[in-house]
Amino acid sequence: MQVVVDNLDVFGRGIWGTVTLFFWATLGSLVLGTVLAVFRIAPSAALRAFGTTYVNVFRNTPLTLIIVFCVLCLPTLGITFGVGTATQYRLYAVLALVAYTSTFVCEAVRSGINTVPVGQAEAARAIGLPFTGVLRLVVLPQAFRAVVPPLGSVLNALLKNTSVASAASNFELISGLRNLVEQNGNAVISVLIGITVAYALLAGVLFAGVGLLERASARNGARA
């Protein structure tokens, strides 16, 4: 495993790349996913149709294809952000990851909403709350408590999906793997093990976080 020790800087850069992609994509997916879930249960038929179409299109398109589309087609269509090349490709990757992952977040949140008894929403409406108020104050807080475990799985998948971004000028763990393998042909297996351990560590941190959240929401639920 000497090769891992000798190349800690490459592992460090790789982990940093994976973590930043994961962080921004998580943020974007949670927001867009929740909005989509709201669309899918909204009273307006147009919003529901939009939500359903979006989810079905992006959920069923392979992520690799979405990323390649973002990177090869968006610049051709003139969609650029006027930032440096590296940032530009990072934005494309985050965009693709958000477009894809938000569909799974949406479905998780929607299943959470379904666990909230209908009486809760009816009672909220009965005291005069509008649709947004019903969601914000009564339904969504209960729904999110129910979806912590499935959201954990969605985020774990997102963590590993960041690896696809290596195809498009984003330095992360898989890019690090490619670099190390090419330059250390004598220690390919060690490099592979090193990268696997790095992913396992990141996933471990993620699940520890989700576990804490789960316990916290269970306590709140018991109090409510």
Binding site: V68, V181, V188
Partner: protein
Amino acid sequence: MKNVRTVVLAGAATAVLALSACGQEGSPETAGGGGATSGGTPAAAPTYAVATDVAITGSPTYDKIKAAGTVKIGVKADQPGIGQKDAGSGQYAGFDIEMAKLMAAKLGLAPDKIEYVETVSANREPFLQQGTVDMVIASYTINDKRKQVVDFAGPYYVAGQDLLVRADEEEITGPDSLAGKKVCSVEGSTPATRIRDNYKDADLVTFDAYSKCVEQLTSNAVDAVTTDDAILRGYAAQQPDALKVVGKPFSEEPYGVGLPKGDTALRNALNDAIEGAVTDGDWKKAYDFTLGGSGTDPEPPTVDRY
């Protein structure tokens, strides 16, 4: 009846999968890298005399090849002009493939006794170590770290890092004119690392395949693609009107035939084969058929018997 239907369905599904797999990225629409001569007219593929009196003693790999009657050669499938699998026919073509046929001929095996195994950079050493392939001919640069785990015959070609640009490009004349230019290469490759380390003013963009870089180059998203000239020549030969190779190599990448570690007998035999091919003109035939017409002709390599 139900079983028959299942079999038919499974067969159809397999066929669809196989067809879709053919359309993999990097496959050009026209079959290039084999018969792509300067005039665009396909030349007849060269043939190499198959040796009849092969006597290699003390080579476990050769014994294995002889017992099987076929030789398994690891090649690349996505590099036009070097090693590329044609989308339609599934046939491999390129300079590495011609070298594979040449090596097989010297071992007494006709081209139809070669079993090509698709390799990527990451699995070349493991394939040799585990005996998945008998040899690797896959734009495989000889270097000291690799020599620790595999042996090399050759080099059979000395490539050099060069730049592929649009045909109307005038500003980029070599690596020193790359400041502020977007240069595309494959993440992890030696050429990408060299740009990152030695030409810090260049704006490096990396993808997972050179074909994507070439796509970015033709759509003006990047200004140059960099890797070994042999690979770039393959792309330039595909689109001679749109692309050109700058033609000033700034590194030396000796391509060798990767062999299992310690098989000195086979290594010597293949070194003899490469020297013989250079002398009798087979090497030139192979070059002209695959990479010829892409610019100046390179010097034939000198075998390094380390």
